[in-house]
Amino acid sequence: MSIMSYNEGDVMAMKRKDYVAIAANRRFGIQTQMVTMDFQKIFPMGCRLYISLARLATDVQTIAQRLKFRLNLCELKEGRQIKLYTLMSMVANLLYEKRFGPYYTEPVIAGLNPKTFKPLICSLDLISCPMVTDDFVVSGTCSEQMYGMCESLWEPNMDPEHLFETISQAMPNAVDCYTVSGMGVMTHVIKKDKITTRTLKPRMD
């Protein structure tokens, strides 16, 4: 089994004009054995900024903690909240430092800018190539299934409830088609005035 699918993980983010949604599955397993169903893969990095990491669990936690350290330092020095593009560059720098012995994880960033509240979603590969899109990004072991679901279900003009419905249909149905995935999905819908967090009831096999 390859190192990228040693602990699996799946992450998805969708974007609309004024809000974004991010979802990740909650399984932590070691190869074929499931260990726990409440593993955190989405980390808040600011007021309306979330980063989610999939794949190797140790690198998920390491990157989240190192990034939080750098982010805190940056905000203390500058005295203001970080912008989304800056956060994306910071993550890219963190990953490229290990270009020849990389972290085995592929982050997805979703959020709203602090001042303008413009939404942004992007994903990066394990050696930091950023990809910014206008509709959805996926990352993880069952990315093919997730691409299929997103392509079928995503529509351009959705309100927040419709966006939540879409992501909560796309994500569980994609991960339930895959053996080493599943066990529940955590979703955050990020709007200007509030953030709604929901946990979806999973298939338990």
Binding site: Q33, M204, D205
Partner: protein, 334 residues
């Protein structure tokens, strides 16, 4: 009927049979054999009716002894040079199964090595027993419980695969391992069981059925088959449970579990098993074992298919979704 033959007799018998191949002697094959047999024993020839009866006994005996039949050239490797169908005859407890065609000089295991991703090929077929099946005997018969997930690599191909083959109303076989292998060989076993019934007028015993399957596996040992099966039934000796493997392993026992989730299922079964369970308690034990195994193991899931083998045949108890059951157990424990 057992006849003890001296070595000289056997040698002349074999010589007589070897001479039968490919020649156009006078008379039919059985009568030629009989003449050879009687000549070796220095007996005078008999009249025809008694001759035919003796022929049949000789044929049955020769089949058990393993002497070659008329037209077969060399039967060391049945997969090569074969143009034969299985001969109808008496008890065919020999390894009488259809031969699978193989090109000359090919090693069957090379096929799987080329697909294992060791070399340049990107295709990878993992031959793991990806499932959970279990069976246990108790005072009211045998419980058989299986999951229903079929996976190709890491992708779930089907959530509703039936992993129990209903051979006859008194015999069940479970499947774990490579789906193609299990389905083919167990359907072949079903055919052999039916032929046994038609030839002998009574149902085959569980012991004999499992032996047939085990012999089929032994014949193809080392060629990359993947099958872990449990043959369960009720015959004259009572409930029967045998585990048969692709290596030819055949074990009789009270409790088995096969597949990638078997360790989880054993844990639950061992902690709750007693011989004097009631049927409801036994169903609950089998159900819990499969549900907990599907929860932990990635390659098991879907529904629990449960069968109860009783004295008057098997009944299908239920087919329940494991996810609903797991939610129910979690709510009950809170």
């Amino acid at each position: 009927m057992i006849v003890l033959l001296s070595r000289r007799t056997l040698a002349s018998l074999r010589k007589g049979l070897g001479g039968c191949g490919g020649k156009t002697d006078s008379g039919s094959l059985p009568s030629r054999l009989l003449r050879t047999f009687r000549l070796s024993l220095s007996l005078p020839p008999l009249r025809t009716e008694r001759a035919d009866l003796r022929c049949q006994r000789t044929m049955a005996l020769l089949e058990v002894c393993g002497a070659p039949r008329g037209q077969r050239d060399s039967w060391a490797l049945p997969a090569l040079d074969s143009d034969l169908r299985s001969d109808p005859g008496h008890y065919s407890f020999s390894m009488c199964s259809p031969e699978l065609a193989l090109p000359r000089g090919m090693q069957p295991t090379d096929f799987f090595q080329s697909l294992n991703g060791n070399g340049e090929s990107n295709v990878q077929i993992e031959m793991a027993h990806g499932t959970t099946t279990l069976a246990f005997k108790f005072q009211h018969g045998v419980i058989v419980a299986v999951d229903s997930r079929a996976s190709t690599g890491s992708y779930i191909a089907s959530l509703r695969m039936n992993k129990v083959i209903e051979i006859n109303p008194y015999l069940l076989g479970t499947m774990s391992g490579c789906a193609a292998d299990c389905q083919f060989w167990e359907r072949l076993l079903a055919k052999e069981c039916r032929l046994y019934y038609l030839r002998n007028g009574e149902r085959i015993s569980v012991s004999a059925a499992s032996k047939l399957l085990s012999n089929m596996m032994c014949q193809y040992r080392g060629m990359g088959l993947s099958m872990g099966s449990m043959i369960c039934g009720w015959d004259k000796k009572g409930p029967g449970l045998y585990y048969v493997d692709e290596n030819g392993t055949r074990l009789s026992g009270n409790m088995f579990s096969t597949g990638s989730g078997n360790t989880y299922a054993y844990g639950v079964m061992d902690s709750g098993y007693q011989h004097d369970l009631s049927p409801e308690e036994a169903y609950d034990l089998g159900r819990r074992a499969i549900v907990h195994a599907t929860h932990r193991d990635s390659y098991s899931g879907g529904v629990v298919n449960m069968y109860h083998m009783k004295e008057d045949g098997w009944v299908k108890v239920e087919s329940t979704d494991v996810s609903d059951l797991m939610h129910k157990y979690q709510e009950a424990s809170q």
